[in-house]
Amino acid sequence: MDNVGTIIERARAISHEELQEFYRGLQEALKSQSIADVIPSLRQLWLSLACTRYRGDVPPDLLMPLWEAVKEPHLGPVMVRMLCAAVLQEFSPCQSVCLRGGELSSGPLSSSSLALTLPVVAGVGHYHPDLQVLREQLLAWLTGAGQVDTAAITHVLGCLWGMDNSEVITLTQEQVDGVSKQLCTWLTTTSTTQPPNPFSKNIFSSRQLVAVTEVDETPSHDMFTVLSVGQHYSPDQFLNMQVFSMMRGWLHKHQSRNGESASMALLVDKMCEYCLRLLDQCERKAVVQQDAELQQACLTEVILLLDTMCQQNSSLVPRVFPSIKRVYNRIQNSPASSINIINILQFLLHHSDAVMYDMGPALQHFFLKILDKQCIDQSLAFEATLFCLENMENLCNNTSVLRKFFPCLLKVFAWQPKTLLAEFVDLLPTMVSEETAIEVLHCLLDLPVITAAMETVMRVEQRGSLTVTDLSPEAVAQSTSELAYSDPLHRPLFNFILRAEGGLGDTIDRLKVLHDILQDYSTLPRVVVCSQAAPVLLRVYLQTVEQEASVDLLARLFPVLLERSCLLFPIKTFQTEVKRVLSEALVWVVQTAPGLLIDNRQEVQELMSSPRNFAGREDVFLHLAWAVGEYMSVTYDRRCTPDIISQYYEGVECLLYELSVSQLGRTETPLQHRARLTAVLMTALAKLATRCQDLMPRVLLCLTKITQQLPASGSQDPGDAVLLARAPVLINLCRMPNVAPLLSSLPAETDDNSKLHQDQNSSSCLLLQLTQAVMKQSQQ
């Protein structure tokens, strides 16, 4: 029984009258003194509002007590007030809440009151009745004009920054400076001693003041930071943590390139100091695991902060660069810090020019030694992908890493095809260049193979590090792939498919062997999803090549397209989809460079020599046959001699006879494709014949034979009717050798004469109209 579903449906099913009744009851309860008993009803109220989008408000008589409860601490225990605030936030933004939010009083307010009211006010956002007044009020509290205690300042700061960040309020330069000055003060003047236990009931403890410590428990001698550890914390220390947490956003928004004000410059300076201190603190060995994780997160934040500050003020680079370099040297071989290496690389991309630092080795180290070894680590993979994406232009123009390490990146994709597809659609074009295009194509066509290979390696490694002994039988049995991976004969195949660097070779001879080994894994969910995503990337690849390719590249591409159309990993839907894409690619490749049919005539003729090759490659076959008919002509390539045309003719005619006449041809080819192929072949034959007059009698004979054979064969194929209709058309066409070449091919693009008969200003149009008139006359 789905409890969640039941509860939600029941809450949605409450009728309007019942709801109004409930509101009235709640109103009464809130007015009474025993507000503490109201929690169950308030929870019910929250649920009835949250379960649907159609109940967006409560009557004002109920709203008033709710809002009063949030504002006035003495009206009830904090959990009741928290619940009231949650209810108000649930149906915010809402007219009534907005109006209430506008009436923040300006008297002395305790932190308890502000803590709950400000989030509600912030939730109102743009719908607030008077944002100017609110802004002034918040700023007054922040800069000390109002009497608010330090604990409350954190809430005010949070509210102000939240609204500034979402652009609900806009701060003037002067206001930004005022706040920056305060932030600076809070960062630098935090106490470094541990306060007494605020939760203890003993208010007369006479404990000595103890200094905060570092994460490795040594006493601290420098300013307080988020990595300073104490038994308890005072409000100003929490304020320090909050200021640091919001600082990067603040600087990103308000630090400008063109001359900083004095306050901002001071803030940046102090922030630099704080960051450098944090870098030192990150070198210490933390006693508690949670602190070690915080060190990593802080390291990320500091590097990103320094990057932001240096981007706006490049004079800071020489000051911070030595520390960054020291950090890099320390962490470059530490797997736990891989994400920070990416952040440092980003810093270097932006600033290494300023300090004449060559970041080539660092990039190489990252791709080869780090990403390659950890490409199944989800967060690292995500970070690496975003790093490449966000710095795409820089990496493309100033380095060659994307073109060199694309196999590594495609491995990252192969492991998370679902999550990273959109990112890789944008990233793929950067990997394709004249040198890498063919290898990239092979990689894309083998993406599911890469996934399957990675699954194999993962399982082998898992098994190797297993400490659990009582495994189930399924877990104990090793699969074919795992055995093959451990076999030295087959290991090189895995090594090739899982390589990190391109340029070692486009593909291997024994690819089919690898496909067979990994066939068992073709049903794994990850492999299946990858096989669905791969055609998407393939299309992106082909679009890129279409825009940029040289004739030379197309010449290298054509045989690969032919060859790979029958060498694909055995997943049915994958093969169908990829073959469709490849056949479309073949068409435009030949359209762009028709001469390829002449250069590759041996491969093409071999492919078309038998109907057996048709099985599983229908689209490729059809498109190729059409292309042969269409583009084997002198208008497309001067080298197209009658000899070559005759050779193609022989092949096509042979195939056509086999297909339509012989019994063998008919049983091998599936019925629905046979008619289509026959039609295309017949047309191609006719077109070839129109260009080489010697073949004319042969084609007439062939077509006539077919028209005679088809009805006699007794087949039930409805496509035969089409064939029987088309054959006479082609025969008639071939009987007009003068006009046949023109009619049978597409006009060349430079040919302006194709629409002469429609052009009102040309004589041919006039003549046609005259002829038509005369003929009409004579018929009457």
Partner: protein, 193 residues
């Protein structure tokens, strides 16, 4: 800044959002939408994220189920009482569904999922750490793994947890003692001081 915190169910079937807190608003919203429409839009945004989390979680579960050795390890771990949540992260482009590009970190265990939707430049490690912290607290103060419906019935507890550990959508860098301090404050608040 965190844009949204979402608690949801993740088993196959309709994806139920149990709790959703929004912070900030899209830059393109200038109060021009009618207020009811604005709330409706927020609900849609949350639902879109929740569906994607469910889909990613389901994919990971399928992959894990197809790995017999890994399954055995996980089975042993859960027998020893350790909860190994599934985690993940993905990005959503601007406009779908939030106005700007956002990334979502998520964690699921049993039928309960928790997701934080953050602005794109936010510190991802800290987001993941905060997510873990909040999930741990949810397991501690509400029985989300066995009875996710408690989130619907005790929204005040969820609100209290978020109030302390994600105040107004701000990710906080808290060391272990600071976390302990805040946990004590939370416990005091929950016990109804």
């Amino acid at each position: 800044m965190v844009r949204s915190v979402i608690i949801q169910t993740v088993t196959p079937g309709p994806c139920r959002v149990l709790y959703a807190q929004m912070y900030g608003c899209d830059g393109d919203q200038t109060g021009s939408l009618a207020q009811t429409a604005a709330r409706g839009r927020q609900k849609e945004q949350v639902a879109a994220v929740a569906r994607q989390v469910q889909s990613e979680c389901s994919f990971q579960q399928h992959c894990a189920a197809a790995d017999p050795v890994g399954e055995e390890v996980r089975r042993h771990l859960s027998q020893e009482g350790a909860v190994v949540p599934q985690t993940g992260i993905f990005q959503m482009p601007p406009g779908e569904p939030f106005g700007t590009k956002v990334f979502t970190v998520w964690q699921t265990a049993a039928n309960c999922g928790l997701a934080l939707v953050c602005e794109n430049h936010e510190n991802r490690q800290q987001a993941a750490a905060t997510l873990s912290q909040i999930f741990r607290l949810l397991r501690q103060h509400l029985r989300v793994l066995t009875q996710p419906e408690e989130v619907l019935q005790k929204a005040d507890r969820v609100a209290a947890i978020l109030h302390h550990f994600l105040p107004q959508g701000q990710l906080l860098f808290l060391n272990s003692r600071a976390v302990r301090h805040k946990e004590k404050e939370l416990e005091l608040m929950l016990s109804g001081k």
